[in-house]
Symmetry: C2
DNA sequence: CTTGTTTTTGAGTATACGCTCTATTTTGAG
DNA sequence: CTCAAAATAGAGCGTATACTCAAAAACAAG
């Protein structure tokens, strides 16, 4: 494992390279050779730092999944507004990771057991947080709030989806309308 | 090219096999060997019917894209309800194709120029059809109706997206709420 | 049955991929 | 400065993949 500075720097370059490739050419195009080439690293160094190519990819996707969360530690405190804003910020501010996030969800790498489980549990967490936030602001049954949360989250995901097709799409503006209709 | 019956049947088996694989194991897992195995065909026969592996895949994805449209010929006649119902029917009735559709949109095969263009133009068509339908039912400026259509479509895509994660998700029910809020 | 066409077979080819291994250089604590 | 640990280079390996091709079998019209 990396302990000296050069190793850590190399590790970073590899992660950056992989992130870039995943977003640009997809899982398929993210070959080891491409990663190495872009990171200016030879295979020997790579395998001194990572177990496998899969490990890097899963690491990057894992980061993408986590990046969706505003403040993973603070629970039971966030407002609906905060949660929504955090997600919008993620979509517009980190489009690269957002794309990987969506790709993963839609089947890109859900064949990987570990990742699939991680993704689903993350999704569930997000849903319950949103549900709780809604209940704190409105008097609704748990069931109603949950339905509300699902609808809102679906709307947001749809906006992110639309942005994939049209980079100029006004996600924030549409999200505002989405919130206004609740 | 296929001219006798056996050839046509083989062609169908290959398309079915590819469709199944794309939905189950994704683009990555849809190898030629897997296609051949499932279709009970040897490589020679395959290349007697198709130019390449890519051709089959693009054919299948193309079918998925077309399948989203309710009645591609009838233009300027459909109602918002019809368009929405058709899409919901597509999502719930043909989940296999729906998944491929979403995968394609989110980047699965958008590296392919032809397919990317086809997908975008299809998306645009769908959006303007929905926009027109809205204007026929409500007095809105073109701009407003377009925004309305984008929001509605995003919502529907979000529901489809959610269904990928949770197969039991009540798409139709939530879509109803979506429509009720307009 | 004959004959030209279509379909099928499956061994074989080229290539790209992930990964290993050994030798060499670099690093930094004592 | 010394030296063990860490980092790097890069040739090379095994495998999986998409695809080819020549020959054989199945097909259908006359």
């Amino acid at each position: 494992m990396a302990r000296y500075l050069p190793g850590l720097q190399t590790r970073d370059r590899i992660l950056e390279s992989t992130t870039w490739l995943l977003a640009r050419v997809g899982l398929d195009g993210t070959t080891l050779a491409a990663i190495l080439d872009r990171a200016k690293v030879r295979s020997g160094s790579f395998y001194n730092l990572f177990e496998s190519k899969d490990e890097v990819i899963l690491t990057v996707i894992g980061e993408a999944i986590n990046a969706v969360d505003p403040h993973p530690d603070g629970e039971g405190k966030d407002t609906v507004r905060e949660l929504v804003d955090a997600y919008i910020e993620f979509i517009t501010g980190q489009p690269t990771l957002a794309q990987i996030y969506l790709q993963t969800a839609v089947g890109g790498a859900l064949n990987d057991e570990r990742l699939a489980h991680r993704f689903l549990s993350h999704h569930e967490t997000r849903l319950t947080r949103l549900t709780d936030a809604i209940r704190r602001e409105q008097k609704l049954t748990k069931r109603q709030a949950r339905a509300e949360a699902e609808l809102l989250l679906a709307g947001l995901n749809g906006l992110a989806f639309h942005r994939m097709l049209d980079p100029d799409f006004d996600v924030a503006g549409r999200a505002e309308e989405l919130l206004a209709r609740r």
